[in-house]
């Protein structure tokens, strides 16, 4: 949605510049002084800032919705990246952590606390949320929510050395019974009907 709005806006602006450019060459006449105020004031400042303001207002509201906020019934998971593995811990919810696979309840807001042990990595599950960097010594928070149970691929989105390309993980979103089984200790491999492995 956001993407489409921006695409339309950008195409419009591009077309405007191109039409002005072509007209400069093709129109008959020329050689008469033009109005500086009209071109630079209305065009350069007026037109450009109107487009920007609209875009910003829109982006800001979208951004607010994506911001990580504590919400009731939420789950907090810690993701730790290192060359070239991902570890996920569930705090008091579950005693053992998981590796290479992050389990979460579908339909509930989840806050992921992201950090790294060695170099900078970046946590990115394209279908669920934007990315957030995993930086040694810092903990960053990202809110995401899987609408439906399923598997979602995640990757490392900051160059982290030789193994960067295959530094990925899998997100497993479970329904309520599955999630309950998981937090009580069941191995995630046994819970994933969708797994191709």
């Amino acid at each position: 949605m956001m993407w489409r709005v921006m695409l339309i806006g950008a195409t419009g602006a591009f077309a405007l510049v191109m039409v002005l450019l072509a007209a400069g060459f093709l129109r008959p006449g020329g050689g008469a002084p033009v109005s500086v105020g009209a071109w630079l004031g209305w065009g350069g400042v007026g037109f450009v800032s109107t487009v920007l303001l609209a875009l910003l207002a829109y982006a800001f509201t979208v951004g607010l919705r994506l911001a990580p906020t504590a919400s009731p019934g939420g789950v907090t998971i810690t993701a730790t990246a290192e060359q070239w593995r991902w570890r996920f811990d569930y705090g008091p919810l579950r005693s053992g952590g998981t590796e290479a696979i992050m389990v979460l309840p579908a339909g509930r807001p989840v806050v992921v606390q992201v950090t790294a042990r060695d170099v900078i990595h970046s946590f990115w599950v394209p279908r669920l949320a934007g990315k957030i960097d995993a930086i040694p010594g810092h903990v960053n928070r990202l809110r995401l929510q899987a609408a439906a149970p399923g598997e979602y691929a995640g990757v490392c989105a900051e160059f982290c050395g030789i193994g960067h390309r295959s530094h990925g993980f899998m997100v497993l979103a479970l329904d309520e019974p599955g999630w309950n089984a998981f937090v009580s200790g069941t191995d995630p491999d046994e819970l994933s009907p969708w797994t191709l492995r």
């Binding site: 191109m18 060459f25 129109r27 020329g30 934007g130 990315k131 040694p136 810092h138 960053n140 989105a157």
Partner: protein
């Protein structure tokens, strides 16, 4: 005085000018040459060479990505290839290309005979050559940098990049940056001081404004990166943990320092190109630029905004939402000054009758590509979108639309436009047009598709991908496009080289341009103008028909040679009133030798021979003194005839000399470096994990008192020396300088006592001590500089180089003494306060 006789008509004036400004033939001539035309051409040729090297690397990248599961190279090599491609393009192609263009054109467009500091031009050139050789050599032996062109820590720190690869980047690039900072200072001073009489600021050609702002941005933009590189190299070599989170450092400090440079860098690359556009478009449209004042304001706005925006490269590091919104808004704001320029260019085309000659064709390419790049840039500035697109091929595509549209196409236009000036020949018809279409079509094929794979989720910097991703076809098309583009570039290069064989001479002003660089014989002579113009409008060639001939007949200023000296005129900065005759140095091997010795320092660091490193540093100090010793005058001559019935004093007898201004801007760069270091200290203190440190600095009140008070007294002593010199009391002035030197020495001893007495905690244990140590080292360095300069001043006084009229050298020494005193006060107060760090 010999200069007093007004030379009515020197018949062999041109011969004598040629003799005065000439360089010897052969290798020796290559080494001692300091002429801006020659060095400008060298810079551009070398930059073109690096463009080819980096271009070949990009062909390898596209070969690798053309098909899934490509086994062409593995990740070890692939990482080196894209890192070197980015590094060479940014540091070895783009910046030097514009420097070369500026060196070549500026004096000619401003109506001067050379740049303000010809030897510095040459020094910058040799630093660039030697730094580039380090980078190239590393590539040949397969040890090239491989951490990406922004070298994020901790990946680039010793633990995760144990080899020499990262050191190559840090040292090689820093070496080249020295060259960039030299050029920046020189360009700034040349524009402010070395213009034709009558050329007030508002009569400068627009491109001079662009270059002025670019140079100023470099003065303030490069020091943070140089600081970052120095700190990272010290961390790698000696284990001072500036960036290691386990010991109170922070990886984010590197990101801040890097992008503090890296974001302005994009505009440093764009602005000179925009200056070229603003110069060529009115000529192609046979009119004058619309909105001169608006454009100048837009350039400044762009420069200032760009320094506030570095965080926009760090949207994903976890910054609070409100801060993100602020930077997001500010990032999109740059679209306004950019928009003003684009509309000014459009309006200029509308106002005139544009003709589609070759330079204009490349500018049309610029319009299409650059506007698209700007629009995707606005998209990326929007945070939620950035979260999705950050670090994908979408970003790579955006970056190339901006850089190729905003820099490469304008540079191709510039080459097409000014090559007749350089060679004095005409080009072959149609070859350039064919090259344009290949480049234009190939470019869009390559990078438009990369937007799409980026949105499909293809990350940047991955060496291969699986066929199931569905990216295969698009990537293959993109690679084919890149070969088409490469073919276009080869054709363009061939077209330029062909000019050697074309015998048709170009007309004196082939495009009907109105700026001064066309008011001379082409190809240009080493002295540019037989006599210097006096300027009354922004378009001198249009408003004063016959100007070119007048100048050639020697009817302008300085139509003579005084005692074999190279001379040009210096003006009052804003009004352009004649102020001084600037006497420029002649051929010299010093720049070459000094660059060699500087290179010795970098090589000893690279080889890990740290105990040798002090020797070249000492060598640089000695050479710098030798350098400064040349020039100057030992007698007062008073104002001299400069022709047209006017007189001006030679520069040593004025106060506002180019050297004085050069020193001011060098200090600006230096102060930015220092400010970045202080920022680093504050940043780590507030943000970094694992603070407070295990141990704080001991009680240093005595040392600090000495370190603060002694330089202040030295400043007083130097003022006293100046007052004495003004009264002509040379012996007193000398005594005061020596006293100041002793005081500075005492301060240095006090500062050195802090680590020697063990009051500085272990610098390898925690970032706190490491930064404190770095600040002390910086302070000590500046005390040493002040010490050497004060000794130098005393020697100059003794040798008769100063008098009540010739005071500017002492004024420069005073600046540096004051600066050292201010640094001492800041550093020591910070350290005193931080004694309570726990």
């Amino acid at each position: 005085m010999s200069g007093d006789a007004e030379p009515a008509a020197q018949p062999d004036l041109r011969l004598e000018l040629a003799r005065t400004w000439s360089t010897p033939q052969g290798w020796w001539g290559v080494i001692v040459n300091v002429n801006h035309t020659d060095l400008g051409k060298r810079f551009m040729a070398a930059a073109a060479f690096y463009f080819c090297v980096a271009g070949i690397l990009s062909m390898l990248i596209r070969a690798q990505l053309a098909s899934p599961r490509s086994a062409f190279v593995g990740p070890e090599i692939y990482n080196q290839i894209f890192t070197m491609h980015g590094t060479l393009m940014m540091f070895m192609f783009a910046i030097p290309m514009f420097e070369g263009l500026a060196l070549y054109l500026l004096p000619k467009m401003l109506g001067a005979r050379d740049m303000a500091f010809p030897r510095l031009t040459a020094y910058g050139w040799w630093c660039y050559v030697f730094g580039g050789m380090i980078l190239l050599a590393s590539m040949l032996v397969g040890k090239a940098p491989d951490g990406g062109w922004f070298m994020y820590t901790p990946l680039s720190s010793r633990t995760y990049t144990p080899g020499i690869n990262a050191d190559i980047w840090l040292l090689g690039v820093t070496f080249v940056e020295i060259s960039a900072v030299c050029a920046a200072v020189e360009i700034t001073v040349t524009i402010l001081k070395l213009r034709a009489p009558g050329m007030s600021l508002d009569k400068m050609p627009l491109v001079a404004w662009y270059l002025l702002v670019t140079a100023l941005m470099m003065v303030f933009g490069f020091p943070p990166l140089i600081l970052g590189s120095v700190l990272l190299e010290v961390e790698r070599a000696f284990g001072w943990p500036f960036f290691d989170p386990a010991r109170g450092g922070d990886a984010l400090l590197w990101q801040h320092l890097f992008w503090l440079f890296g974001h302005p860098e994009v505009y440093i690359i764009f602005l000179p190109a925009a200056g070229v556009i603003s110069t060529i478009i009115p000529v192609m449209a046979r009119t004058r630029i619309v909105g001169y004042g608006w454009i100048v304001a837009a350039i400044f706005a762009l420069a200032i905004l760009s320094f506030g925006l570095w965080v926009h490269h760090m949207f994903t590091v976890g910054i609070p939402h409100m801060a993100l919104a602020f930077f997001s808004a500010a990032s999109t704001l740059v679209a306004i000054p950019t928009g003003i320029q684009v509309f000014a260019w459009l309006a200029t085309l509308w106002q005139g009758r544009p003709e589609l000659k070759l330079p204009m064709l490349y500018l049309l390419g610029m319009f299409v590509v650059f506007v698209m790049g700007g629009l995707t840039g606005v998209m990326l500035a929007v945070v939620p979108f950035n979260w999705q697109a950050h670090d994908t091929a979408f970003v790579t595509a955006h970056l190339h639309y901006v850089l190729v549209g905003g820099f490469v196409f304008p540079m191709l236009a510039a080459i097409a436009y000014w090559l007749p000036h350089v060679t004095g020949r005409q080009r072959l018809p149609r070859l350039g047009e064919a090259a344009f279409w290949l480049i234009f079509v190939g470019f869009h094929a390559t990078f438009f598709f990369m937007h799409i794979v980026g949105l499909m989720g293809m990350r940047r910097r991955i060496d291969t991908y699986h066929a199931e991703t569905g990216w295969t076809l698009i990537n293959a098309l993109s690679s084919v496009g890149s070969y088409v583009m490469a073919f276009g570039f080869a054709l363009f290069l061939g077209d330029c080289l062909m000019q050697r064989f074309v015998k048709r001479r170009a007309a004196a002003d082939p495009w009907g341009a109105t700026t001064l660089e066309w008011a001379m014989a082409i190809p240009p002579r080493a002295y540019n103008f037989v006599s210097l113009p006096s300027v009354r409008s922004r378009d001198p060639l249009a408003d004063e028909p016959g100007l070119t001939q007048q100048l050639k007949r020697g009817e302008g200023y300085l139509a003579r040679v005084r005692e074999g000296l190279r001379e040009t005129l210096g003006v009052e900065t804003s009004t352009g009133r004649i102020e001084q005759i600037v006497v420029l140095p002649g051929n010299s091997a010093l720049p070459f030798i000094m660059a060699l010795v500087t290179g010795g320092f970098f090589l000893s660091m690279l080889a890990g021979l740290y105990w040798i490193a002090p020797a070249p540093v000492l060598g640089v100090v000695v050479l710098a003194c030798r350098w400064a010793w040349q020039g100057g005058a030992r007698a007062d001559v008073g104002p001299l005839q400069i022709g047209r019935g006017e007189r001006a004093p030679p520069h040593p007898e004025t106060t506002s000399t180019p050297g004085w201004w050069g020193s001011v801007f060098t200090l600006c760069a230096d102060a930015t470096f220092f400010a970045s270091l202080v920022f680093g200290f504050a940043f780590l203190w507030v943000v970094a994990p694992n603070w407070p440190p295990p141990a704080c600095i001991g009680s240093i009140s005595v040392e600090a008192a000495i370190g603060i008070a002694a330089p202040m007294l030295a400043v007083v002593a130097v003022s006293f020396a100046r007052a004495a010199l003004r009264r002509g009391a040379l012996a007193r002035a000398m005594g005061a300088c020596m006293a100041a030197g002793v005081l500075v020495f005492v301060a240095a001893a006090g500062v050195a006592a802090i680590p020697v007495l063990g009051k500085l905690p272990d610098v390898t244990a925690h970032a706190y001590a490491a930064v404190a140590g770095a600040m002390l080292a910086y302070l000590a360095l500046h005390l040493v500089i002040a010490f050497v300069m004060l000794g130098f001043a005393a020697a100059r006084l003794r040798a008769g180089y100063m008098s009540a009229l010739r005071m500017h050298e002492l004024a420069i020494v005073e600046q540096w003494t004051r600066y050292a005193a201010v640094v001492a006060a800041i550093v020591l107060v910070i350290l005193l306060l931080s004694g309570a760090c726990r």
